[in-house]
């Protein structure tokens, strides 16, 4: 199952993806792929990881190989598998990939297509994959997220956040293979009942994550969310993951 965590910038997608990664790391018998699809690399930072290589570095290496004479498509496919493996950072049962920032503007459609296929193929080897998407709808529009099964839409307690989530949901229905989606309210402060009773959304609400001092402290101190102790936010995230069948 491939799940994309989407939403407006600054609503806490990355923190939720990082806490989800921590949850997966504690489950025996599963292998999870964690993809930091934000070029800023926020998820890796939240997990305390400095990737030695990104997917974009792999793309550039492959382009160099092609320029140096790599022509055979089969060789290209196995080379991409090899180079992707060198970009994986492993932690327990987690394999973490960072998309990186493209430096080269050139058009290498064939490489891009094969790379996308390779990532999909790689995800297929895992029990689950979670993608921390770039803020907004750009990646949904560009079909970067086309193979996802489920969209976890995050919003803060603002109408603007909710509207962006709904837009992503609408575009996602058209541009991805998703079979389901759920809405998560983040950083809710009391009282939240009135907000929830007033909202009108076509997306199923999965849960409300409260403002959490532990999360805030980890964030401020730049500590890895892989080390976060049990706390109210983590408990809600855990129950959401259970609800959508991820753990």
């Amino acid at each position: 199952m491939i799940v994309a965590v989407c939403g407006k910038g600054g609503v806490g997608k990355t923190t939720i993806a990082a806490i989800a990664a921590k949850e997966f790391s504690q489950k025996e018998g599963i292998k999870a792929l964690i993809v930091d699809a934000d070029p800023a690399g926020g998820l890796c930072m939240a997990l305390g990881i400095t990737p030695e290589k990104t997917i974009n570095d792999v793309r550039e290496e492959i382009i160099r190989e092609v320029k140096a004479g790599l022509r055979d498509e089969r060789d290209l496919a196995v080379s991409i598998d090899y180079l992707l493996s060198t970009a994986i950072h492993e932690y327990k049962n987690l394999a973490i990939l960072s998309i990186g920032r493209p430096e080269d503007e050139g058009c290498y459609c064939k490489v891009n297509v094969i790379l996308k296929d390779a990532i999909e193929g790689l995800a297929g080897n895992f029990d689950l994959a979670i993608i921390d998407a770039e803020a907004g709808i750009e990646q949904v529009n560009r079909k970067v997220l086309s193979p996802i099964d489920y969209m976890l839409l995050i919003t803060d307690m603002s109408v603007k956040g909710l509207r962006v989530a709904e837009t992503i949901f609408t575009v996602g229905k058209r541009m991805t293979a998703m079979r389901g989606a759920g809405l998560v309210f983040n950083r809710a402060s009391n009282p939240i009942d009135s907000f929830l009773t007033n909202i009108q959304s076509s997306i199923q609400v999965l849960g409300v994550i409260p403002e959490d001092e532990t999360v805030k402290r980890f964030d401020e101190e730049g500590r890895s969310f892989l080390d976060i102790p049990p706390c109210p936010a983590q408990k809600v995230i855990s129950s959401i993951l259970k609800r959508i069948g991820l753990v």
Binding site: G69, L70, D72, V78, N93
Partner: protein, 274 residues
């Protein structure tokens, strides 16, 4: 160095030179693109035979291992073969079937259960004995056959442009008795399914990075030959003056024969069109 060491060194050098000559005399039966490379590989194999941990086994149904595409993460890995820093080589060569010791799987160095370190060097040389009408198509089929090898508890990643292979073997697989001979057997089985192949043999090295590097130097020569051949087939450009592989074609007669055949084929096609 004392005089005795020096004498022993000379004797060894003479012995090795003779060994190479013997191997060359015995092996080269017909002309093929890799004849020189094969000679060098066989000479290295003869050297490896002198080491106490050199073993040979024959492929057969008793070495069958379940096929499965496996993803192996670091925490479940028992042995990592061919990490780029440890030394890595993978090469796929062919020649006349009479040159190949069919079904032979040779290993120089520790097998998986004997490894004292988690990351070890790995060299994998696959030799196919075959007769075929088209080298390029045959080469592609051979590669596909090798890429198709998937074994339960074994994961391989390859970088053909650098003759590199990087494998992981799971703890479970080793507990269940998986050895490098099972891998060799699966490779031979797969290679022998390629049309035209009548013999296949595998040589594996896990002893030292130096041994792997020695094979790699030889394999790089083979890669230049393959690259020259691929260029000929894919570009159909026979302007030798501007070609980066001119030196290769000048030393490998078989490549000249391929070039002449292709040139004739292209010429015939153009003639037909007219």
């Amino acid at each position: 160095m004392n005089p005795q060491d020096s004498r022993q060194g000379n004797v060894r050098a003479i012995f090795e030179a003779r060994l190479v000559e013997n191997v060359r005399d015995r092996r080269v039966a017909k002309l093929g693109v890799f004849d020189d490379v094969l000679n060098q590989i066989f000479a290295i194999k003869e050297e490896l035979k002198r080491y106490p941990d050199f073993r040979v086994s024959k492929s057969g149904p008793e070495l069958f291992w379940e096929e499965e595409s496996t993803l192996i993460l670091e925490e479940e890995t028992a042995v990592e073969l061919g990490d780029p820093r440890a030394g890595s080589l993978m090469t796929l060569l062919w020649g006349d079937p009479s040159l190949i010791e069919d079904g032979t799987i040779a290993l120089a160095g520790p097998d998986l259960s004997e490894c004292t370190q988690r990351k070890i060097p790995f060299g994998l040389v696959i030799l196919a004995g075959a007769q075929f009408p088209d080298e390029y198509e045959f080469f592609r089929n051979l590669k596909d056959a090798f890429y198709a090898v998937k074994l339960k508890g074994f994961m391989a990643r390859m970088l053909p442009s650098r003759n590199t292979i990087w494998c992981r073997v799971s703890k479970d697989a080793i507990l269940q008795g998986f050895t490098l001979f099972h891998l060799g057997n699966a490779v031979i089985d797969s290679i022998k399914k390629v049309p035209g192949v009548s013999a296949a043999q595998v040589i594996m090295v896990t002893s030292t990075k130096e041994q792997v590097e020695k094979l790699k130097t030889v394999a790089e020569g083979a890669k230049r030959i393959v690259d020259a051949m691929v260029k000929m087939y894919s570009e159909l450009n026979f302007d030798c003056e501007s070609c980066d592989y001119r030196d290769v074609c000048e030393t490998v007669n078989e490549l000249k024969r391929i070039r002449d055949r292709l040139r004739k084929k292209v010429g015939d096609r153009q003639e037909d069109r007219r």
